[in-house]
């Protein structure tokens, strides 16, 4: 009871009447439940800034995409959604959810300034599903074992890294498949064969692989997840990420839960994340890219869907499970 409610301490300077009304409505709701795939720390930082600006609390739930989709759809189909908005890797899930009316189309939700000057490339499904974050796939390496950072992805096929690769099974996510397809397109199939010849250790998520690189079990890992590596570096682990060449990566899209408990707070949060400030902040704290252009490495390409045929070929070339 001391210090007053967060609403009193809101610092945002709001002039737009539409936004002002939304802020008031959001403050009345008081809190917003966010399901997100970005790292907990990232969600926390963005949430803190949001709370500081508008005096609305954020409760982030952080899980991997698959678990979130599982939860979200179970909750939605039972008619009792717990989330107010989601930040999830873009996938057919969004189309499905929109169609089942689990999500409110963002374009018709009445978010102030939307789409406004939001980069049009990133407005999917006619603006119903905006992409808010681009996570370029990077390489992760152990600074004790690798003297100079890899200069090209082709280092992964260098025989000196034989038995020194920790790679996530490409099948674990569509973004991984896109990445390897990009590699095929860029360097040719022989590159993938070269990686296979180095006998990588396959993991079924990025976590154990990155940990193995940090521990020195392997020298190079893939994919490097910025958030995990940051955690490790903060603890003093000898591990770094680098983007040695063209890359792609998952896109994180935003969705508004239909029939949620705090629709206005959700809209306000969406407004914040879609604004240049919010988007840039998200890009900075997560080490990812923003549609507004910050944080994207050279040679970044939007992920392309991979056909079942291509997926099979990739698996075959890499010799992955």
């Amino acid at each position: 009871a001391c210090g007053g409610s967060p609403a009193d301490s809101a610092t945002a300077d709001v002039t737009d009447p539409e936004l002002k009304a939304l802020v008031t409505a959001a403050q009345e709701e008081g809190t917003v439940v966010l399901y997100g795939v970005p790292d907990e720390k990232v969600l926390r930082s963005v949430a803190d800034r949001f709370t500081e600006l508008y005096g609305v609390e954020v409760q982030p739930v952080r899980l991997v995409s698959a678990d979130l989709a599982q939860r979200f759809s179970s909750e939605a189909s039972s008619g009792a959604p717990a989330s107010d908005l989601i930040l999830m890797t873009h996938s057919p899930f969004y189309a499905d959810a929109l169609q089942k009316k689990w999500l409110t189309p963002v374009s018709s939700a009445g978010i102030p300034d939307y789409p406004g000057d939001y980069p049009a490339d990133y407005l999917l499904s006619d603006g119903d599903v905006p992409v808010v974050s681009l996570v370029p796939t990077s390489a992760v390496y152990n600074t004790d074992k690798v003297s100079a950072p890899p200069e090209s992805w082709q280092d992964y096929a260098d025989p000196k890294y034989r038995g020194q690769l920790a790679v996530a099974d490409p099948a674990t996510s569509p973004a991984n498949l896109s990445f390897w397809q990009l590699m095929r397109d860029t360097y040719g199939d022989d590159f993938l064969r070269g990686v296979a010849a180095n006998e990588p250790t396959w993991h079924n998520s990025a976590v154990p692989g990155t940990q193995a690189v940090a521990a020195g079990e392997d020298a190079l890992g893939h994919p490097g997840v910025e958030a995990i590596v940051r955690n490790l570096t903060e603890s003093g682990a000898p591990v770094k990420t680098v983007v040695p060449g063209p890359t792609t990566g998952p896109e994180i899209a935003l969705g508004l839960t239909a029939g949620s408990e705090h629709p206005n707070a959700a809209k306000l949060f969406a407004h914040f994340v879609l604004s240049k400030e919010g988007s840039t902040l998200l890009a900075e704290v997560s080490g990812a890219g923003s549609p507004y252009g910050t944080g994207l490495p050279d040679g970044f390409e939007r992920p392309q869907p991979v056909s079942a045929q291509q997926e099979k070929q990739i698996k075959q070339l890499l010799g992955s499970p």
Binding site: V33, D39, E40, Q59, P60, V61, R62, L63, V64, S65, A66, D67, A69, Q70, R71, S73, S74, E75, S77, S78, G79, A80, A82, S91, P92, F93, D96, D169, A171, T172, S173, P174, T201, W202, H203, N204, S205, A206, V207, P208, T210, Q211, A212, A214, A215, G216, E217, D218, V225, A227, I228, N231, L232, S235, G236, A237, P238, P321
Partner: protein, 569 residues
């Protein structure tokens, strides 16, 4: 026939309600699969059978499960025999230590072993290399590799040993030692006696232990995912989870189809166990003269103790030590900075983080309450079943034990679907977690309660009835006090399981109702082994304290000649 008494009607009602909680969601999933657009379809079956690589999956699963069960059988029986039948026992120490792997969530255990036995950076490997270096043998990797068949089987086996140990212990404890002595006098030495007499006599207990091993092994996810996948060994459970999570929408059809194989494995194991039981030629507890005398190992006593403690050291202490070291060091590395170990991660993961603190409090509260509700309900049902040997009571009994054979994930999703929305609206509450835990762990509660009821026997309640006590008074004054030690033990088991649960928690917990299991998953997926280790360590410490306290209590409770055990121990 006498009309049903109110007390019995209530027991029956509880049983049926508990079964409904599990069965309704399950049946809904099944109907949804086989009844598409108003007509019956066998597509899930045909799709499952045509899954590429199905043969490898099945073969790998069978090999891992059978091999680890066999190893666990040998180790578990040896430990239980030394502890129960010989003077190598060291009181509470050897009673409780082999159960420790129970307390370490498999995801933490798997990570612990990876950190110990990765070929290059495994702590244990590096220590062994250092030691070998002293005698001039140098190597850059090895000698062990956790990501291998033997590594996977070993880790599985460590987790399976408690099941065998618990059951074998119960079997040995009930064995009339004169059966063994008769064999010694017949001219058979210790070894032949063990082979020809002791083991065949406790066959049902060993069968029950093996059954649980298969049960556990066929459904286990974290161990094969973390240890097996890098070794290129894929098993059913991993594939099932992948089908449910790697793509959207989840391929429930094939996932449930594959679960059918899991149910099949467990079914076969169950059938074998039933056959052992049906033969009926095993030792049953004799009322009189069955004083269990321990075999004096003489000079072998201390070597035997060293073996027991050595096993505990390798199987449990090592992974926990590696978790603690990593938690203190901040990240996994073979070059532990001994000087700079700090409690930061521990503090950060457990005490500084408000959600974790809430999660811890929630989990402990749910464990206490859920354990209590679960064991009391199971006791009421067990009593009903024991007193009414009818078709209805057997159905209730079977129904309550069924969830053990079904994928936990399926049950958890089913419960969210059933209770999350109208009219219950329990989504995001502690109540839905409670229901989930109850549904998942009821079989264990039921087994514990059965044992507690069986321990009371028929005569004591009958004496109460003849003394003029109503059934409810008999329950309150005779059954309940006599069952308390058994129920407390059952409660402890439930408490440990519920506090350490990951599956139901992943689906049912959230910001509104965080629990430890959910936090562990979050921490794991966000990639901090140090936090994972810290959280697991705290969990192990708390549950171990509860376990030891309860074991000590049940030992003391035998004062009145009342038997009790924590899952047989």
């Amino acid at each position: 026939m006498r009309p049903a008494r109110p007390f019995e009607a209530v027991s029956l009602l509880i049983g049926v309600a508990l079964i409904a909680v599990v069965m309704v969601p399950l049946v809904r999933v099944l109907i949804g699969m086989f009844w598409v657009d108003g007509q019956f379809t066998v597509r899930p079956i045909t799709r499952t059978l045509s899954l590429p690589g199905l043969g490898d999956l099945l073969r790998n699963t069978v090999i891992v499960v059978l091999a680890s069960s066999a190893v666990a059988l040998v180790i578990g029986v040896a430990l239980a025999w030394l502890n129960e039948r010989t003077n190598a026992r060291m009181g509470l120490l050897t009673d409780s230590l082999p159960l420790l792997p129970f307390l370490l969530p498999p995801v933490a255990g798997a990570v612990g072993w990876v950190m110990l036995l990765s070929p290059e950076s495994g702590l244990l490997n590096s220590w062994i290399r250092d030691a070998l270096g002293l005698v001039g043998i140098r190597a850059d990797s090895g000698p062990f590799d956790i990501h291998s068949w033997y590594g996977l089987v070993m880790v599985y086996a460590f987790y399976a040993v408690p099941f065998v140990f618990m059951n074998a212990t119960a079997g040995f404890r009930n064995l009339d030692s004169s059966l063994e002595e008769a064999s010694r006098l017949g001219g058979a030495g210790l070894g032949r006696t063990l082979r020809k007499v002791t083991l065949p006599l406790v066959a049902p207990s060993l069968g029950a232990g093996l059954l649980l091993c298969v049960w556990f092994g066929a459904g286990m996810y974290s161990l094969p995912a973390i240890v097996g996948t890098p070794a290129g060994i894929e098993v059913l459970s991993v594939r099932i989870v992948e089908l449910l999570t790697f793509s959207y929408p989840p391929d429930t059809e094939v996932a449930v189809g594959l679960s059918g194989f899991v149910v099949l494995f467990v079914g076969v194991a169950y059938w074998l166990q039933l056959r052992i039981l049906r033969r009926g030629r095993y030792a049953v507890q004799s009322g009189k003269g069955g004083a269990a005398r321990r075999i004096d190992l003489g000079a072998w006593k201390w070597p035997a103790r060293v073996v027991i403690l050595g096993y505990v050291l390798v199987s449990t202490v090592l992974p926990i030590v590696s978790l603690v070291l990593v938690a203190l060091n901040g990240y996994w590395t073979p070059d532990i900075g001994w000087g700079s170990l700090s409690l930061d991660a521990l503090r950060q993961a457990v005490f500084d983080d408000p959600i974790t603190s809430t999660a811890l409090a929630n989990s402990l509260g749910l464990g206490v309450v859920g354990g209590l509700v679960g064991i009391l309900a199971a006791a009421a049902v067990a009593l009903y079943v024991a007193r009414h040997r009818s078709a209805l009571s057997s159905t209730v009994d079977a129904g309550i034990k069924l969830p053990a054979a079904v994928s936990n994930m399926v049950i958890a999703v089913g419960i969210l679907l059933l209770f999350g929305g109208e009219p219950f609206l329990l989504s995001g509450t502690l109540a839905i977690l409670l229901i989930g835990y109850l549904a998942l762990y009821l079989p264990q509660a039921s087994i514990a309660a059965d044992a507690a009821v069986a321990g009371v026997g028929d005569e004591l309640p009958e004496a109460s009835a003849v003394s003029g006590a109503t059934p409810f008074r008999t329950f309150r004054k005779v059954y309940l006090p006599l069952m308390v030690p058994g129920l407390v033990a059952g409660w402890a088991l439930l408490f440990i399981r519920m506090v350490g649960d990951l599956t139901a928690s992943a689906i049912l917990a959230g910001t509104g109702n965080p629990v430890v299991g959910f936090r562990i998953l979050e921490v794991f997926t966000s990639g901090s082994y140090a936090l994972l280790a810290a959280l697991s360590t705290v969990l192990v410490v708390i549950t171990a304290l509860v376990l030891v306290a309860v074991l000590a209590y049940t030992r003391r409770a035998s004062r009145h000649g009342v038997r009790a055990s924590v899952g047989g121990v």
